[in-house]
Symmetry: C2
Subunit: 305 residues, 2 copies
Amino acid sequence: MSLLTVGSVAFDALETPFGKTDKIIGGAATYITLSASYFTKKNNLVAVVGGDFPQEMVDLLIEHGVNTEGLKTIPDGKTFFWSGRYHEDMNTRDTLETQLNVMADFDPVIPESYQTTEYLMLGNTVPATQKAVIERMVKRPKLIMLDTMNLWMNIAMDDLKDVLTLVDVLTINDEEARQLSGDYSLRKAAQTIMAMGPKTLIIKKGEHGALLFQGDRIFFAPALPLEVVFDPTGAGDCFAGGFIGYLAKTDDISFENMKRAIIYGSAMASFCVEKFGTERVVNLTQEEIDARVQEFVKLSSFEIV
Amino acid sequence: MSLLTVGSVAFDALETPFGKTDKIIGGAATYITLSASYFTKKNNLVAVVGGDFPQEMVDLLIEHGVNTEGLKTIPDGKTFFWSGRYHEDMNTRDTLETQLNVMADFDPVIPESYQTTEYLMLGNTVPATQKAVIERMVKRPKLIMLDTMNLWMNIAMDDLKDVLTLVDVLTINDEEARQLSGDYSLRKAAQTIMAMGPKTLIIKKGEHGALLFQGDRIFFAPALPLEVVFDPTGAGDCFAGGFIGYLAKTDDISFENMKRAIIYGSAMASFCVEKFGTERVVNLTQEEIDARVQEFVKLSSFEIV
């Protein structure tokens, strides 16, 4: 089945304890589509970049089977830019600079050829923009998944709650789940948030794994303990891309299949952090992904006798 | 098989966001033996209390099948006392008061009848005391497990490293693993720590579960997401008691069986936090434990197709 991803395509400049980069390709939609490209070949992108965005980066997406018909270039605009510095623990970071540039007026246009897309992934961006995308789909996709962050809870909570009534799956981290719900217990938080709209909730806990909630059902997916976390940028987006990419590939949105999708998403995230930026996720083989998934199986399987 | 637990039997006074207690029974060895009592009936205790320790609390242990021959009472001494206050997040706490009392001169004597014990659990206490226990066992137990804490890393690191060369299983939390090893990555930390002696390492991560390391093998056990954590006191000890109690019951120290033991330990810890102090772990049925273990199975099982 086909996937439509809407979100940012950007330049990032990163500093980690292991080194720093110049401007490299980044953005939620970039990581999501690259990650999903290992699962579905019908991989539609809607995003906006400036005239400074190099053609070879567009080509990189195309090489990965991403349909860039919906990637709009504003010739006299500049591409969204973010720079950040990770702390020693790699779990916290400071934003050094954010230039919204062409993202400030991002008005997503859905190409005619995208209108029959079955799976819709709304990358982290302005909630009102996410809502506009849903409204512009002539036919409601089979599954709509949304990622967001604490920023929107601080400055656009009403808009966020509004779009949440329209989505099937929400993915946020544990801190955001607590902020959105006002509950400390993640189990309670999940019930509060699912009552806001999404029937399925994924709470990401970084190195501590992820929780999948749906009704009364809970699934806990481990994170792979890694020797080195080189750069956490994009891990959450690779996770989301792997998750929804796997659902689109299998076209099965049962809870059992979502459990598998979370494992594939976790595997993609575990690759992502091994190198700077998109370096690792642009160079993966199916064999590597399958082997990594088997590591997750070994990591978490046990048998009660 | 039989289990010998050496450690503190104490009074605790606790404050949590849900309320506060007067002096209630606590101490590492108390929680460990109570938890283990659901798995093994040969449950030997070595500890020391003062003349202020009420007989009904000793009777409570005896009712749970704990052999208290090694529980020494110093009539003119006072029982170890700890009081603490948990913060809103329930993950951090302040120690309000510590009175070592009779624990200050704790010199563990191993009764003759305990000398054939196959499984030895050294609860968190002075590393030199833990070492003395091992030296006083005429025959080396089949498995020696040790719990410790950051305090001993700060004030008795050499003694701790000394006793670590003698044990089979070490259990510590993630922060302590990082402190002991000097490595941030838990995967690296585990290798560093296992090189210090223990062939098996359990890293406890509280609400984020636990990791079991042995050689190149890793197992990740989830924690059950709970509606309410009422009082975390003793959770780590109930975990240890369930783990080693299960090993003693089954007398199987293979990695596969240790994975099961971790799940039983996690189940015991999940009960412990539901009420104040030992209230929940003194009132469990086998059916409740089995049902809780099945919740862990449901929580973490998936199938890759």
